[in-house]
Amino acid sequence: MRALWQLTWTEAKLYLREPSTAFMTLIFPVFLVLIFGSVYGNDPADVDFEYGDYGFLDTFAPGLIAFVIATSSFLTLSTSLATYREQGTLRRFFVTPLRPPVIFVAEFAVYVGVTATGASLLVVIGAVGFGLAAPAAPVSLAVAFLVSTLSIMSLGVLLGSVAPTARAAEAAGMAIFFPLIFLSGAMVPRELMPDWMEQATHVLPLTHVVTLLQDLWIGDGWNLISLGVLAGFTVVAVAISVRVFRWE
């Protein structure tokens, strides 16, 4: 227990000392809210597609939260895991009584915490600055956020487990991250996509994060298909990670 606490606390401090990674998750999404809020505002009359009484920012915020989840999963968590392996930190841990689950729980705790902070920041700035609507189902939304984060992070762990080097993890993370955020509806509303493209984006896990969060935000309730897909991705990613994970 003491090991879990000490490792979590140390990892959290190390995370905050790495400015480039903290920027993408904590600061950049706030910039996006400021820019998009200023350019498009949040007036329901300005939205091209039908979302009832919701404005642009209301429909955009869940996408930005998905963006935050994707940054911590594919730009930092996977690279950090691969770096620890490459530099031998994991090997050093392995010759102590520290058990692997403790390492994973600590890592998840830190990255979930950071992701939640990044998401809260952008929501608060959006609400205060641009009248972002409060989510229709806040508790369900929080649960969905947690499920989504664990699901996408398990894919980040999988990437960190299979990548041969930290550089490979970083490059692959970028190659996954950028198409993902633009195709999943996190940055570009899928309503604006041609039909075939919109259909194709259903294979992307992040699409289901956006859908799940968006539906709960605007009061459409749980999208069970998206929830099921995310659960499926989690189970598969964890099962493969456990098999392929190496200390070195």
Partner: protein, 309 residues
């Protein structure tokens, strides 16, 4: 070693073998490490030293053979063994931005009854670097931190793998003193090194490994003694000359040319014979001296090649 009980095997390795794909890294290696000694494992890079001790500490699973550490199997009783050993690995860095004090506190939290970390910092001369990031430490400071981390659980047995590689000669000698201090406190030490000099200065007993096999195992003095029948003299000539005849001088076993100087290995009154023969050939060596036999020579004799290529 006064007490009869204290000669028990802290480590017992029997016919250990480990293969990586096509490479046989460790082949039929057997040795015992006794309570309270500094046991050296020496050999050139790639000899299989790291693989052998990583099997002993439970980091790798051997393909065959038996390993017992503190009376337990390091693979099946991994948790018990890991609680009681301390380790400095050859390849293991900490995160760049972790601070010295944080690293010690973190590792201390992994054990039930850890040492006082501020006392450890003091003892290893790191109290002034407590808030320094790992990446900003000098090579010697990093090694001292790794030693402190290896001792954080009051281990009965510590492993040091290439502890002084990359250190300058002064820091290396300072580190030897630290290792002696650890042994003096009753901890058994397994020291892996590719520096024969280090093993000769520090170890009570040394196993020489080459190509995954133990080629000699004894105290440094015992190994050298077994060699002393062979002597070595060394000289330099002011200008190059054909020395083909030297090998035929009585008592000469072998002639080696090393960076401009000539080493003659042989037995009997070697110095007189070689000096006389040089004079007869009209050659005046610049310096001509008899050299002490070292572990390096033992290595050369047992493996037939230079340690440092």
């Amino acid at each position: 070693m006064s007490d009869a009980d204290s000669t028990g095997g802290v480590i017992e390795v029997g016919r250990l073998r480990k293969v990586y794909g096509e490479t046989v890294a460790v082949d039929d290696v057997s040795f015992d490490v006794r309570q309270g000694e500094i046991f050296g494992i020496v050999g050139p890079n790639g000899a299989g030293k790291t693989t052998a001790i990583e099997c002993v500490m439970g980091l790798r699973r051997p393909d065959s053979g038996s390993v017992s550490v503190l009376g337990m199997d390091p693979w099946f009783d991994a948790n018990q063994v890991k609680r009681r050993i301390g380790v400095q690995l050859q390849q293991a860095a900490l995160p760049n931005r972790i601070k010295v004090g944080e690293a010690l506190d973190l590792f201390a939290s992994f054990y039930d009854d850890p040492a006082d970390t501020s006392a450890l910092l003091q003892q290893w001369g790191l109290e002034g670097r407590k808030d320094a990031a790992f990446a900003n430490l000098s090579g010697g400071q990093k090694q001292r931190l790794f030693i402190a981390l290896a001792l954080v659980n009051h281990p009965e047995l510590v492993f040091f793998d290439e502890l002084t590689t990359g250190l300058d000669p002064q820091a290396r000698r300072a580190t030897w003193e630290l290792v002696r201090d650890i042994r003096a406190s009753g901890t058994t030490v397994v020291l892996v090194t590719h520096f024969m000099e280090e093993a000769e200065h520090l170890c009570d007993r040394v196993a020489i490994i080459d190509h995954g096999r133990i080629v000699a195992l004894d105290s440094p003095a015992g190994l050298v003694e077994a060699m002393e029948s062979e002597k070595r003299i060394r000289f330099t000539l002011p200008e190059p000359a054909d020395l083909g005849w030297l090998a035929n001088v009585e008592g000469v076993h072998r002639v080696a040319h090393e960076n401009g100087s000539i080493a003659v290995h042989g037995s009997g009154p070697l110095l007189v014979r070689v000096a006389t023969a040089l004079g007869e050939h009209g050659l005046e060596p610049v310096d001509l001296s008899m050299e002490r036999t070292t572990l390096e020579d033992v290595f050369l004799a047992t493996t037939g090649r230079e340690l440092r290529a």
